[in-house]
């Protein structure tokens, strides 16, 4: 099975980290993975997004054009990526920051109060973890235990409280579904 995922949001929303954590997790489960970030201007501003492919076969193309899963962290991302989701795919969106609502009916749509929950946990920055938790539960492509390992690989230099907070956020998201 091959899952093609796009995660999108502001620079500061941990979009790239989310993608890398997913890729690490895939690798930990001995799957083939590719991760491809794409930014706006040379480095500054605009919205960032990344494509992650997780598969049990050799991955030909790391380029994702119709993802089966999209995580939209902010308004512009929703507008941009909702139309791309493959029929029958799943769209996760950050209900806290996104005013408008998805329109498609041929895909499954999962609203997540990512920032709200994150703020409850005391740190807006972990909204991406909440999203990831919800996503893996829903799609089942990766187990939560692996995700916890993976985020520790990604944030090797982070302090323990932060890592624990990340785990909590993953769990909160996981429990949502």
């Amino acid at each position: 099975m091959t899952t093609e995922i796009i995660i999108a949001g502001f620079g500061g929303q941990g979009v790239v980290s989310s993608g890398i954590i997913l890729a690490y997790a895939g690798l930990l489960e001995n799957l083939n993975v590719t991760f491809f970030p794409s930014y706006g201007a040379e480095m500054r501003g605009g919205t960032a997004n990344c494509s992650v492919v997780v598969s049990d076969q050799k991955i030909a193309s790391p380029v994702v054009t119709n993802p089966s899963v999209v995580i939209a962290m902010n308004e512009p991302s929703l507008l941009k990526f909702e139309p791309m989701v493959k029929q029958g795919g799943t769209l996760f969106f950050n209900q806290t920051l996104i005013k408008s609502r998805p329109k498609r009916t041929d895909i499954e749509i999962i609203p997540v109060e990512a920032n709200k929950i994150a703020e409850e946990l005391g740190q807006g920055r972990v909204a991406n973890m909440v999203m990831l938790g919800a996503m893996i539960k829903k799609t089942g492509i990766i187990g939560i235990a692996t995700m916890k390992k993976a985020q520790r690989k990604r944030f090797a230099r982070a302090n323990e409280e932060q890592l624990i907070l990340n785990d909590k956020a993953l769990e909160r998201g996981f429990e949502l579904i």
Partner: protein, 247 residues
Amino acid sequence: MIFGRPAGLTDIKQRYCPGCGHGIVHRMIGELLAEMNIREKAVGIAPVGCSVFADEYFNCDMIQVPHGRAPAVATGIKRARPECFVFSYQGDGDLAAIGTAETVHSAARNENITIIFINNAIYGMTGGQLAPTTLPGMRSTTSVKGRDVVKQGYPIKVCELLNGLDGPYYIERVAVDTPKNIIKTKKAIKTAFQYQLDNKGFSLIEILSMCPTGWGVSPVQAKKWIAEVMAKYYPIGEFRNRAKEAK
């Protein structure tokens, strides 16, 4: 309204990071283009650097040019159309690294152009690498343990360097960390613009400017760092003013 977005800036929302010094300088240039009534004859030059987008932000004719070559392009424009007001806007990597030759020679020619030089001691656009102006011991993504002057050499003090030439007419270093310095900065830019209008020749205004992202600090910490560290290494002041020498 006594203070508000000047006519010399377009309405486009700027892409710079929060607390970036570029915006402060843009605002002042935008004001002067309007106040000095030169917007309609101005041709501005956007470099390669975070301010590559200056060609969207200044409300006048603009050209975006190869990394470091702005002074050459400015020379071409000014020589071909002396009636135009020509200014370039450049970062430290652009002006003091890859563009060193064009900077030095346009100054030596006393080319009748104005260069606004944003010294933020870092390569902002590409992600915070070592700049020719990165301070000794200062961290960057290519000097993670801090600039080692033995291996990576000493920073270049652009005003001091160009002051070794006979050519340039006006050289001053300023900063945008406090309202007081910001007001001084605007005065310096205005003086430089006026000298070009008076056909005096080459002016360069070096502006110590915050890059919170590249420095990895908050905007407020960034502005404090300018006063506490940066301005000590790059002393603020007038280095060359041939108008005064003349007297």
